[in-house]
C-alpha cells in the first residue's frame, strides 16, 4: 500500500508549513532518508526526508503552497499503485497521538527543541478516531463524554450538527471568504442559513465601506517591487539622532526675505536640509556611494533625491550637484521640481542619478521612522517633525525645538562608525548652520 507523506508538525505552535522546493518529481525513485522536499515554518526552513523506499506517486501541492500540519502532501509507493486524485482529509489526531508513529523524520538537528513532534494528546476511542476521519471532524473540537474526557464515537457524530450550514449558505460563505464555523446559525440545530450569511454581510457592510481591490500598476507597482527588493536584500541599520533646530529656525528667518527677493521662492527647511546633507556628504564620501552587486562607486558630485508623495504614488526627483549650490539656487531648483512632480510633469531623467535620498515627513505627527534605502544608493535620511521639548543647555532646562533625524544605511558597504560620524557632522552643521554658508 502506498505511504502518505505528511506536512510534519515541527513545533507545538506550528499550524502550517510552506513548501519551498520539491527535490523529487512524480515517478522519481526515493530511498529512505533521502530528502523529498524543503519546507518553511514560521521559525525555520527544513528538509524533510523520506521514511520509505519507493516511487513518488503523487504530489498534491506545489512549490510555495501553504499546507496545514499533518495534511497529506503526497504518496510514496510502488510503481503503478493507485492513489487518490485529491489529498485525503487531514488526520491531525492520529499523529498527535503518541501511539501512532510519524510517517517521516526530519533532518532537523536533534538539539533543536522546536522540531519535536507535538505530544498534545487527545483521548479518543479508535471508533471515535475513525468516525472523525470519515466525517472530517477535528477531535480537538469535540468534547468527550467518556472518563477523563475521552471522546466516543457518539460524541463525534453528535458534534457533526454543530457548525453545519446549508449548501447555499456554504457557497455564499466561501464566495465571501467567511468561515461558517464562526457564524451563528438560526436554522434547525444551529444550522447556518442564507439569511445568517446575509446578516453578517449586512453587518460588516454597515460598519465599513466595501473593500476596494485593484491591481497594482505603473509607479505603484515599481515602488512596491523596489521597496520589497531593497528591504529584503539590504541589511538596513537605522540611526536616530536629535537635532536642536533653534539655529536652523533663525537662519531661515534671517535669509527668507533675501532668498525670496533673489528667486521669488520662499526658503523652506528642505533647502537647508539638502544643503547641510550635501556639505556633510562631502566630508564623508564613504556615505555618498552607490553599490551595485560587486562594485562600490564613491561619487564626487552629490545628487540628492527628495521623496515626494503624489496621491498613492511615491516619486523621488533628484537635485543634481547640490554640493555646489547655494540656498537660493537650491530654492530656485527644488520648489519647481517638487511642484512639477506633484503636477505629474516630471520625466524619468529627473529621477535618476541620485547618490543620497531625503524623506521628510516633518509635516506629519511623526517622531521617528525607518526609511528604506533607495537602491543602489548607500543611505537615506528620514526627517520627522520639529517639536518643542525641554533640553538642558549649559546646566539649565530650556524649551527648544528639536527634530529627530533617522539615517538608514546599507550595512553591507557602510559600517556603523562612518555612518555615526556622518550623523554627527550633520547634527553639528544643523545646530551651527552658519558654517553652511562658508
Amino acid at each position: 500500500m502506498a505511504n502518505e507523506i505528511f506536512m510534519p508538525k515541527l513545533s507545538s505552535t506550528m499550524e502550517e508549513g510552506v513548501i519551498l522546493d520539491w527535490f523529487k518529481e512524480e515517478g522519481d525513485e526515493i530511498e529512505t532518508g533521502e530528502p523529498i522536499f524543503e519546507i518553511m515554518t514560521d521559525k525555520i526552513n527544513i528538509e524533510v526526508e523520506s521514511y520509505h523506499d519507493g516511487i513518488l506517486l503523487k504530489k498534491y501541492f506545489h512549490k510555495d503552497d501553504t499546507v496545514p500540519v499533518n495534511h497529506v502532501i503526497g504518496f510514496i509507493g510502488e510503481q503503478g499503485e493507485e492513489v487518490p486524485d485529491t489529498p485525503p482529509a487531514s488526520d491531525e489526531e492520529s499523529s498527535a497521538d503518541e501511539s501512532s508513529s510519524p510517517e517521516q523524520e526530519t533532518a532537523a538537528p536533534a538539539q533543536e527543541p522546536e522540531t519535536e513532534v507535538s505530544t498534545e494528546k487527545v483521548r479518543a476511542t479508535p471508533a471515535a478516531r475513525a468516525a472523525a476521519r470519515e466525517k472530517n471532524v477535528s477531535l480537538h473540537n469535540v468534547s468527550g463524554s467518556g472518563p477523563k474526557g475521552r471522546i466516543h464515537k457518539a460524541d463525534v457524530l453528535s458534534s457533526g450538527s454543530q457548525g453545519k450550514s446549508t449548501p447555499l449558505a456554504e457557497k455564499m460563505a466561501s464566495h465571501h471568504g467567511i468561515d461558517t464555523k464562526n457564524v451563528e446559525g438560526t436554522g434547525a440545530g444551529g444550522k447556518v442559513m442564507k439569511n445568517d450569511i446575509n446578516a453578517l454581510l449586512a453587518e460588516s457592510s454597515e460598519n465599513r465601506p466595501e473593500n476596494v481591490t485593484e491591481s497594482l500598476r505603473g509607479v505603484r507597482k515599481v515602488t512596491a517591487e523596489r521597496m520589497a527588493d531593497s528591504s529584503s536584500t539590504i541589511p538596513h541599520v537605522t540611526m536616530d539622532f536629535e537635532v536642536d533646530m533653534e539655529q536652523v529656525i533663525r537662519l531661515r528667518e534671517a535669509l527668507k526675505s533675501s532668498v525670496e527677493k533673489a528667486t521669488g521662492q520662499k526658503l523652506s527647511y528642505n533647502e537647508i536640509f539638502v544643503l547641510a546633507v550635501s556639505k556633510a556628504l562631502q566630508r564623508h564620501p564613504d556615505i555618498n556611494i552607490t553599490y551595485d552587486k560587486e562594485t562600490i562607486t564613491y561619487h564626487n558630485e552629490v545628487n540628492v533625491g527628495v521623496a515626494v508623495a503624489v496621491e498613492e504614488n511615491l516619486y523621488v526627483p533628484v537635485l543634481k550637484n547640490t554640493e555646489r549650490k547655494s540656498l537660493s539656487m537650491l530654492a530656485d531648483e527644488l520648489k519647481p521640481l517638487i511642484f512639477n512632480t506633484r503636477e505629474g510633469r516630471i520625466d524619468s531623467a529627473s529621477m535618476q542619478g541620485g547618490t543620497f535620498t531625503i524623506s521628510n515627513l516633518g509635516m506629519f505627527a511623526i517622531d521617528s521612522f525607518t526609511p528604506i534605502i533607495n537602491k543602489p544608493q548607500g543611505a537615506i535620511l528620514g526627517i520627522s517633525r520639529m517639536k518643542e521639548v525641554p533640553v538642558v543647555k549649559e546646566g539649565e532646562v530650556k524649551v527648544s525645538s528639536v527634530t529627530t533625524f533617522s539615517l538608514s544605511f546599507d550595512h553591507r558597504v557602510i559600517n556603523g562608525a562612518p555612518a555615526a560620524a556622518f550623523c554627527t557632522t550633520l547634527k553639528n552643521l544643523l545646530e551651527e548652520p552658519y558654517e553652511l554658508l562658508v
Binding site: P167, A169, H175, K194
Partner: protein, 464 residues
C-alpha cells in the same frame, strides 16, 4: 366562568391543528366553531372540490382510454351519486377532526366567538353566542382563525338572481346545462374543469388579461389552452355589467362590459374572499386593508391575541393557515419565537393538468434578481409521462446564477401537486441547483423531469 390557557376561534385547518398542538404542549384549550369542524377547506373548499375533480380525472382518462383500445360503451353520469360521494368524504373527514378534538381533550364550544374589550391585563374574554345560548369564557391567549368567506362584487341585479359561490355550489342537486363563472382565478378554473368535464357548457369571465394571474404565465396558458380545447368559453379583459332573470324565470342573462350578453342556467361568482373579522368588532385590534394586522410572530396589535389563516391576509391557503396555527401556538406558549418563511409556501391549482409552484415566478425573479437563469423541461420527453399518456406540461426551475439558489419552481402536469414537495424541501433546506442535479431520482417517474431540469440548468442535461 370557564377559563382556558388558549382559546382558538375557528375550527378550520388553521384552528383545529393549532388546538391539537396547544393540547400537546399541555395547555387547556378551547376551540370555538359556529359551523362544521374543518372550516371552508374541509366543507366547502379543498376537499369537496378535489373529490369532484377526481371524477373529472376519471372521465378524462376514459376518453383517452377509448383511443388506446379500452371501450366502455356510452358514459352515464349520475350527479346525485357523485354528490353523495362528495358528502361522504366530507363527513368522514369531519368526524375525523371531531374525533381528534376529543382525543386531545380540546373543549369544543359551538357558536360564534366575539372577543370582548380587554378589562384585565392578563387574559381575554370571549363571548360565545349560539342560537340557544350565550356563554363567556376567559383565556390567557387567543388565536383568531375565523377564515374568510366568498365576496360578491357590486354587480347590478345580483340580488335578484340565483347566484352561487363556492359556499353553495357543492350543494346543488342537479347539474346545470350551462354555467357562467365570474372570476378566472384558482377557484374559477377549478370549477370550470369540474363542470366542463361533466358536459356543462362553461363560460369564464375574467377581468384581467389572463387566467390565474397569480401563477406563472406559461403555466396559466397551458391551462387556458386546455380549457378552450375542452369547450370552455374563456373571456378575458371583461367584467360583468349586470345580471337579470330571463322572462322564463329559469335562466339568467349576463351582460358583459363589451355589451355582449350570455344566457346561462347557473351563475357562479368566484371573484375573491373576504376576511371574517366580526370576531374583533368589539375591540380596537388594528386592521390592515381589511385584514387583521399581525407581526412576524403572528400576534395582533393586542398582546396575547394572535391571528392566523385567511383572516390575516397573508396567503389564503389552507396549508398556510395550518403552518401559521402551529407557529402561533408555539409563540403563544412562550417557546422560542418562530416565524414563517412565506417564500417557500407551495401553491397548487387542481386543474387538468395541475399547476404547482413554490417561490418566485420567472417574471418575479427577473424583476428582483440581477442574474436569473431558467431551465424548463417538457413532460413530453419524460418516459413515465409518455407511458401514462400525460404528456401535457413542464417543470421549470428559476434560479439565481451565482450560487444556483433556487428562487422558484413552477410545474404543470399530472401529479405535480404531489411532486412540488421536493422543490419545497430543497428551498427550505437551501439546497442549490447543484445538489438537486446530484440527487438520484427514481426511474421511471415524472419526478425525473426535476433532475433533468436541474442538470439542464447546469448545462449538463442528459436528455436535453
Amino acid at each position: 366562568m370557564k377559563t382556558f390557557d388558549i382559546a382558538i376561534i375557528g375550527g378550520g385547518p388553521g384552528g383545529y391543528e393549532a388546538a391539537i398542538r396547544a393540547s400537546s404542549f399541555g395547555k387547556k384549550v378551547a376551540l370555538i366553531e359556529s359551523g362544521h369542524m374543518g372550516g371552508t377547506c374541509l366543507n366547502t373548499g379543498c376537499i369537496p372540490s378535489k373529490t369532484l375533480l377526481r371524477h373529472s380525472e376519471i372521465l378524462e382518462d376514459m376518453k383517452q382510454a377509448k383511443d388506446w383500445g379500452i371501450e366502455t360503451g356510452d358514459l352515464k353520469l349520475d350527479w346525485s351519486k357523485m354528490a353523495s360521494r362528495q358528502n361522504k368524504v366530507v363527513r368522514t373527514l369531519r368526524s375525523g377532526v371531531e374525533g381528534l378534538m376529543k382525543k386531545h381533550k380540546v373543549t369544543v364550544l359551538r357558536g360564534k366567538g366575539y372577543l370582548e374589550p380587554q378589562n384585565a391585563p392578563e387574559g381575554h374574554t370571549i363571548n360565545v353566542i349560539s342560537d340557544k345560548e350565550e356563554e363567556k369564557i376567559e383565556a390567557a391567549k387567543v388565536i383568531i382563525a375565523t377564515g374568510s368567506k366568498p365576496s360578491l362584487p357590486p354587480i347590478e341585479g345580483l340580488d335578484d338572481v340565483d347566484v352561487h359561490t363556492s359556499d353553495s355550489i357543492f350543494s346543488i342537486e342537479e347539474l346545470p346545462s350551462s354555467i357562467v363563472i365570474v372570476g378566472g382565478g384558482i377557484i374559477g378554473v377549478e370549477f370550470a374543469t369540474i363542470f366542463s368535464s361533466l358536459g356543462v357548457h362553461v363560460t369564464i369571465v375574467e377581468l384581467g388579461e389572463r387566467l390565474i394571474p397569480t401563477e406563472d404565465e406559461e403555466a396559466a396558458s397551458v391551462i387556458r389552452d386546455k380549457l378552450k380545447k375542452s369547450g370552455v368559453d374563456v373571456r378575458v379583459n371583461l367584467s360583468v355589467a349586470s345580471v337579470a332573470k330571463e322572462a322564463s324565470g329559469k335562466s339568467t342573462r349576463v351582460l358583459l362590459s363589451d355589451e355582449s350578453s350570455l344566457e346561462t342556467d347557473m351563475l357562479l361568482v368566484a371573484t375573491g374572499r373576504h376576511p371574517n373579522t366580526e370576531v374583533i368588532q368589539n375591540t380596537s385590534i388594528d386592521l390592515q386593508k381589511g385584514y387583521i394586522k399581525t407581526n412576524g410572530k403572528l400576534e395582533t396589535s393586542l398582546p396575547g391575541v394572535y391571528a392566523i389563516g385567511d383572516v390575516n391576509g397573508k396567503i389564503q391557503l389552507a396549508h398556510t393557515a395550518s403552518a401559521e396555527g402551529l407557529v402561533a401556538v408555539n409563540n403563544a406558549s412562550g417557546k422560542p419565537v418562530q416565524t414563517i418563511d412565506y417564500h417557500t409556501v407551495p401553491k397548487c391549482v387542481y386543474t387538468l393538468p395541475e399547476i404547482a409552484s413554490v417561490g418566485l415566478t420567472e417574471e418575479e425573479a427577473r424583476s428582483s434578481y440581477k442574474d436569473v437563469k431558467v431551465s424548463k423541461i417538457p413532460y413530453s420527453s419524460n418516459g413515465k409521462a409518455l407511458s401514462s399518456g400525460n404528456t401535457e406540461g413542464f417543470v421549470k426551475i428559476v434560479a439565481e446564477e451565482q450560487f444556483g439558489e433556487i428562487l422558484g419552481v413552477t410545474m404543470v402536469g399530472s401529479h405535480v401537486t404531489e411532486m412540488i414537495s421536493e422543490s419545497v424541501a430543497f428551498m427550505n433546506l437551501e439546497g442549490t441547483v447543484e445538489e438537486l442535479a446530484q440527487t438520484v431520482h427514481p426511474h421511471p417517474t415524472l419526478s425525473e423531469a426535476m433532475f433533468e431540469a436541474a442538470n439542464n440548468w447546469l448545462n449538463m442535461g442528459i436528455h436535453h
